[in-house]
């Protein structure tokens, strides 16, 4: 486990409405399920304390259309697996959940910025104090905001069961990761075209392929990116 200074955040849990069930009961259901996989300590000062972190209610269950949702906030996270368990529990009730995780740590923000600039789907901009981008983490389109002078970054968006786990994402952002090889077999005319264009643009073939892949992913996740950046 990496030694982070502080990890806090919020998780929005969605439920399909169950006839006759009181709003309070949705909270109980979530807690019951979480207790199955994480040791429960006590309820004090408005917080439910578990072995590796605490949760307290941020927004009570409310109904929008036929869907019930509620928001928990989490803090005092001792082990990142705790966030994975919050997430896993949320997905027992619906196939989506929204998480916002804020991390305070002495990480190398210059390294993070350069990594994000290269591999994000959309670079949203930077000021003297912060930078923001939209990133694809294994099919999960997430918004990252970093406050470089405060050693804090926030990552938020809809997490899915088939995407990378929150703990894995945090590790990648904090520790960095070596690039993985993706081999592609293509007919020789396309290979030739790629190399020719790469030379023309002053890029390596790998850089050009990465750029092409990024463009493809931006197109593929267009609606997710729009949803995340929607402000009306």
């Amino acid at each position: 486990m990496i030694n982070l200074i502080e990890v806090t955040g919020r998780i929005k849990v969605y439920f399909n409405q169950i006839e006759g069930l009181e709003p309070q009961s949705y909270m109980e259901k979530y807690l019951e399920e979480l207790r199955e996989i994480e040791e429960y300590i006590d309820f004090k000062g408005g917080s439910h304390t578990f072995k590796n972190g605490s949760i307290s209610i941020f927004q009570y269950p409310s109904k929008i259309d036929e869907e019930i949702s509620m928001i928990w906030r989490f803090s005092k996270v001792k082990d990142l697996e705790f966030i994975d368990k919050l997430f896993k529990t949320a997905l027992k009730f619906n196939d989506k959940c929204f998480i916002s995780i804020s991390i305070k740590d002495n990480i190398d923000f210059n390294r993070l910025k350069s990594w994000i600039k290269s591999y994000s789907l959309k670079w949203l901009g930077e000021s003297g104090e912060s930078f923001s981008a939209i990133i694809d983490f294994g099919g999960q389109i997430l918004w990252l905001t970093a406050y470089t002078n405060r050693n804090i970054f926030n990552i938020r968006g809809k997490f899915r069961l088939d995407g990378l786990k929150p703990s894995k994402i945090i590790r990648i952002l904090c520790e960095g990761e070596t690039l993985k090889v993706l081999s592609v077999r293509v007919p020789s005319p396309i290979k030739h075209s790629y190399i020719q264009n790469a030379n023309r643009l002053g890029l390596t073939a790998s850089e050009l392929i990465r750029e092409a892949l990024k463009k493809y992913l931006i197109e593929l996740y267009k609606s997710d990116i729009e949803e995340l950046t929607k402000i009306e």
Partner: protein, 423 residues
């Protein structure tokens, strides 16, 4: 603008008596924190002109770099919210509030081009008069004109923010900061006629700690407030019963020995035979009426006075138990039992350690309040301390900003809703 935009750019500000806690929703559960103060450097000095100090008011973490002679500090170093109330015409204090607010908002200006200003939830003392709301709105409007940082603002009383963070609509909130304490019954909204304000907070315990240090031969260190605060937090204990705790500490001097090494220095504080005085520090916060404190008052330690600031009467010596009861009894009789069911302690002045080895002689804030109430015949109360007492107001502001619909506009008669700075 949409609800999504508002939720994305909610920003909270807690103007505490000693600290200003601020930051956007993306900070998670912990705000940024700086001292709620501003320094007016001597602009006529040659050094000021040579070194080009960036502003005529300095705020934030850089203040120590600009401090000049100690004797000038009281006039140049301004803590605008020391009592929770700023006089309408106190220009210096309002100037500091403006600089602090701008400093905080600018630090978190998002980089994305879609950003059109924050939805700011500011929190003031429950005794803040209406003109303070007006002034704070004006300050945000001015900052937006200059920096484009504020889309809308709302202001809520600090105890209400605590109740919101805790999701308790009917309760009594004790918010005790550095400078003062507010005891505020809440039934959906603060019951203004029942609020009790005390002219007593963490700084008074600092004053006593300072006297104890002087008596123990550390007079040279007793003048540095930050150091005194650190010592108070590390050696101070709340006694279950002061007389018994003193007897116990005197009988077991080694067990209760108050020894503290100041980190990263060669300084070690050791109260030795006077270590029993560590219990005085905790007791003083909750009840300064014990006869032992008289000797300190006689020797010149300032006594928490009853004072009137604006229209607000601040009590000095009333103990916390009595103050809670007095506040509750100003509310309808039917409501009182419900208020006693949820007493929430918030603010840094309740953050006291009760180490296992000193139990049951030393206790925590929750137990002390229960004991003070029981002594006055109030039992079966439920007292809770907020998870992070220092940050609960800020957290409540974030919850409030997230929940209040974007279309709900500010109404002076209800004192709620968003005051739109620009469309």
């Amino acid at each position: 603008m949409s609800e999504e935009y508002k939720r994305k750019y909610t920003f909270a500000e807690d103007y505490g008596t000693s600290y200003y806690k601020y930051g956007p929703i993306t900070l998670g559960e912990t705000p940024e924190i700086i001292e709620n103060r501003g320094y007016f450097p001597d602009t006529t000095s040659i050094m000021y002109q040579i070194m080009a100090v960036p502003s005529d008011v300095i705020v934030g973490k850089e203040i120590p770099l600009y401090l000049e002679a100690t004797e000038d500090l009281s006039t140049r170093l301004i803590y605008p919210m020391r009592n929770g109330v700023i006089a309408r015409d106190d220009e210096k204090a309002w100037r500091v509030v403006y600089e602090l607010t701008k400093y905080g908002l600018k630090q978190f200006k998002p980089a994305e081009p879609e950003f059109k200003g924050f939805y700011v939830v500011a929190s003031l003392s429950s005794i803040a008069p209406k003109y303070m709301y007006e002034k704070l709105f004006e300050i945000h409007k001015r900052i937006d004109e200059e920096e484009g940082l504020v889309k809308a603002v709302t202001i809520i009383p600090q105890p209400l923010a605590v109740a919101i963070a805790h999701k308790v609509p009917t309760c009594i909130v004790l918010e005790s900061g550095h400078g003062n304490t507010q005891i505020c019954p809440i039934s959906r909204y603060p019951i203004r006629a029942a609020i009790i304000a005390l002219n007593r907070g963490g700084s008074d315990a600092n004053t006593l700690t300072s006297e104890i240090l002087k008596d123990a031969g550390y007079g040279d260190l007793a003048r540095e407030e930050a150091l005194v605060t650190m010592i108070k937090e590390n050696i101070g204990l709340i006694p279950r019963n002061l007389n018994e705790a003193i007897r116990e500490a005197k009988e077991n001097p080694e067990k209760y020995r108050a020894k503290f090494k100041v980190p990263n220095t060669r300084i070690t504080i050791d109260l030795e035979a006077e270590s029993w005085t560590r219990f005085l520090i905790g007791e003083y916060v909750f009840n300064p009426n014990h006869e032992l404190f008289q000797s300190y008052f006689r020797r010149g330690m300032p006594k928490p006075k009853d004072v009137k600031i604006g229209d607000i009467y601040f009590r000095g010596m009333i103990d916390f138990g009595e103050a809670i009861i007095e506040a509750a009894e100003r509310c309808p009789v039917e409501l009182q039992p419900y208020l006693y069911q949820h007493i929430l302690l918030s603010g840094g002045n309740f953050q006291w350690k009760a180490p296992e080895e000193f139990k049951p002689t030393a206790i925590d804030s929750v137990t002390k309040i229960k004991i003070l109430l029981k002594e006055k015949g109030i039992e079966n109360v439920n007292v809770e301390i907020t998870e992070e007492p220092k940050y609960s107001v800020w957290r409540g502001c974030i919850v409030y900003g997230y929940a209040v619909p974007e279309k709900y506009e500010w109404k002076w008669e209800r004192m709620e809703g968003w005051l739109k700075i620009r469309e």
